[in-house]
């Protein structure tokens, strides 16, 4: 890596930060309770649109883990999500009607909020259908993890997306508000993930799982990326490069050990394949605000029409994080 390329990456990071700064005016504060944030609070950032039915369980999951404050960007919800969030005691929410796509799929907004409120805090950036699990998450709060990372001066923590799906068609069992989505979508693929390294940003590129298996079996290069680095001890000079798949400066992407050992890592259980999906797909196909011209959503549409069952006899039923650890999907690393 020459000086020239390093310089170009630096320019790139500057560009994302400038964009984030510029687009902050697209956000209107609806409820700003950021004064509550304490120096040691662990923060959660998310962008959403029309996710009202998912929100109660989402907040419950992350409150149980001990997150201190939630910062949401509501992108034009019409189902009462915004009203619901503004009534919460530990939530700050901004609203925008601007294009999700033009804001680099929401990343400009999130980068802006991270720079403003996330500086020197541990920040988790997720989607509303992603549920973070990490080693010992059933007995140790998130602060235990971040304190441990602090003692090793680790600033970023990897959590691969694990697509969860039900047995049978996704809309066979309707999802009720407040319900644990993994009561329905409790299956996952345990060992068909493909990894390579991105030479430019140094991150690992992970693909696979049920989406690659069923919707992208003929075009695996287009299968969605599953690598994510959602938990970062943020500094105002950082920027998410593309979704939370990778970060700049790129040293933050080195969340894996290349000398044979295992670093600690978690998973983002992805509750996309629920009864809420068909409605979402129909809406997003019209809106066309998603990555790569909504390629993914077109594939979902085709899949939902032709063969709505993602389950196979080799699907694994989710029990807990220890199971994911044993299967080699995540690791405790040196944490005991």
């Amino acid at each position: 890596m020459g000086i020239w390329q390093r310089y170009r990456l630096r320019l790139r990071r500057r560009r994302w930060r400038v964009r984030a700064w510029y687009r902050r005016r697209e956000l209107t504060p609806v409820r700003d309770q950021t004064a509550q944030i304490r120096a040691d609070s662990v923060l959660l950032f998310a962008t959403l649109r029309n996710e009202r039915v998912r929100l109660p369980y989402f907040l419950r999951h992350y409150r149980n883990l001990g997150f201190g404050h939630f910062l949401f960007v509501d992108n034009g919800s019409t189902d009462g999500s915004l009203e619901y969030l503004s009534a919460q005691p530990d939530v700050s929410v901004w609203s925008t009607q601007q294009s999700y796509k033009a804001a680099r799929f929401g990343m400009d907004w999130i980068n802006g909020l991270l720079a403003r409120y996330g500086h020197e805090h541990w920040c988790l950036t997720v989607d509303i259908d992603e549920f973070f699990v990490y080693p010992f998450c059933d007995t140790r709060p998130i602060r235990a993890l971040t304190d441990w990372l602090d003692t090793y001066r680790i600033r970023s923590f990897s959590a691969m997306v694990l697509d969860m799906y039900p047995k049978g068609p996704v809309d066979a069992v309707p999802y009720r508000e407040g319900q644990d989505p993994f009561e329905i979508a409790c299956w996952f693929d345990s060992g068909n993930y493909m990894i390579s390294q991105n030479p430019r940003f140094l991150n690992l590129w992970i693909q696979g799982g049920p989406r690659a298996r069923t919707m992208f079996a003929d075009a695996p290069a287009k299968a969605p990326s599953l690598n994510k680095i959602p938990l970062v001890r943020w500094h105002r000079s950082y920027a998410y490069e593309s979704s939370t798949h990778m970060l700049l400066p790129r040293g933050l992407n080195l969340v894996f050990d290349d000398g044979g050992g295992e670093k600690a890592s978690g998973c983002l259980l992805h509750a996309k394949f629920l009864s809420t999906l068909p409605g979402k797909v129909a809406e997003e196909l019209v809106r066309n605000e998603h990555f790569a011209g909504g390629r993914e959503y077109r594939a979902y549409d085709a899949q939902l029409r032709s063969n709505p069952d993602l389950w196979t006899k080799w699907s694994e039923k989710y029990i807990n994080w220890r199971q994911l650890e044993i299967l080699g999907l995540m690791s405790k690393g040196n944490w005991a």
Binding site: D147, G191, Q197, P210, P220
Partner: protein
Amino acid sequence: MSVGFIMLCHTALDRAAQVARHFSTAGCPVVIHVDRRAGPAAFDGMRAALGDLRNVSFCARFTCEWGTWSLTRATIAAATQLLDRHPDIGHVFLASGSCLPLRPIDELRAYLAARPGTDFIESVTTADVGWTVGGLDEERFTLSFPFAFRRQRRLFDAWVAVQRRLGYHRAVPKGIVPHLGSQWWCLTRSTLSAILTDPRRPEFDRYFRRVWIPDESYFQTLARLHSPAIESRSLTLSKFDYTGKPYSFYDDHLQVLRRSDCFVARKIWPHADRLYDAFLRTDPPRGELVEPNPAKIDRLFAKAGERRTLGRPGLYMQSRFPRQDRENGKTAAPYSVFHGFGDVFENFDAWLSKVTGGRVHGHIFGPDRVELAGGERIFNGALTDSVALRDHNPRMFLTNLIWNTRGERQCFMFGPRDNQSCNWFMATDPNAQISVVTGAWALTLHRNAAMPFEKVRAEAARLQRIETEHLSILRSMYVKARVRIWTLAEFVENPMEPIQTILDEISPRAPRRPSEAPRMRDFAGFSQFLQKLKNQGMQPVLVGDFPAPSEEARPAQRQRPYMVR
């Protein structure tokens, strides 16, 4: 006689105060040193919280920097104060603010009372310890370390380099032999006061002031001068990882801590409410004086360290992606590759799976389909038979297959028609057992009567080129796999002997030899076929020295050759 505690605190002072109160109410005097870097508000808060306890006092405060003399100086100040103010104590126990007593204080008191003259301090010579981190073993004592390791790392490293370059060596004071050990000790009054009142102490202090991490060597060395009976172990349960950082204890360690029977554990995560609640209750002593037994915790942490440094062999995942040659096991388990066997035998995979009991796949790298065992479309770990997915990352396909079926040996067929991109990977994998019959592809070509000979010739040339390339890999000096190579001609001469060797290697304790051999394919007309290839200018060298057409008279080959002759 009682035991007194020294507590060195820098953060989580509320927890430290809680522990100090526990010691104090059990009748043990406590002297607390609070790092000067802890703010005045926190310090005043702690002082106020312990104001009602007459046997708790605070000593002069120093700014403490890890690895420097300041920590030892604080310990000396606290120890002096403790001995001066409490003439009745027999032992002094050095603890930190993040320590937690695991057993009732009365048990500790009884344990020490039963060993009145014994000093519990881990103290070993540098030559004998393997746990020093950073490569500075002997040099801790012979170089000078005026800079802080954590804060002034560059200066620290540069200064070490300069001294090494100049060959600088400090003289160790006469009469002492440097010893190292855990910072947390429990000394008798007589040993401790002998150390503190030694007339040569100014000389020793001057020396240790520039030693690296003197808190792990000052008392450990000087105790050797004054102690009548050293028990070289620490009563504090404290485990360090491969980087020299202490492991923390959390709520879920409650049971394993209880069973360890150690007196004090370090370090406790300050928010581990359950641990503090459980261990700071004043339980009556159990009356039996069991020895501390931290073996279980040792194992727990040893495993964690191993996982972090070596990892699970053959696992490729989001936080373990070893670069080439650092894999510590390229694949998770042994597997067998049968190159050309499918061409020589009919239903070789079915036969092999019957004989070995392992999982036998067809050509999993085949060009048209991933031929999973039993013709399955989906396999362990939800791997599929999609060629596109496999070819997107063939190496991960292979490593996933082996990882997903840990505990069951995988065998598969291979040949020059297949995807060749894993050839180097398999050849350099000690888990691979690769058996090759070269030129066997010719037999299958020969059977394909429908193909016009022009195409057959071109295909033969292509397959021979691919196989030659593969063979050059298998014959290179980098090979780590168990490789066996026969030409087709050699192999059909006596096929069962090589097969038996392979089988013995796959399952060395197999109960009995297979009674039935696999059925060989029809060789009729094969020699003519080879001759025809040669006549067209294509020399099938990899087939080996097959008999010329005239000699061909081996109808017996068609039958099943029985193993036991």
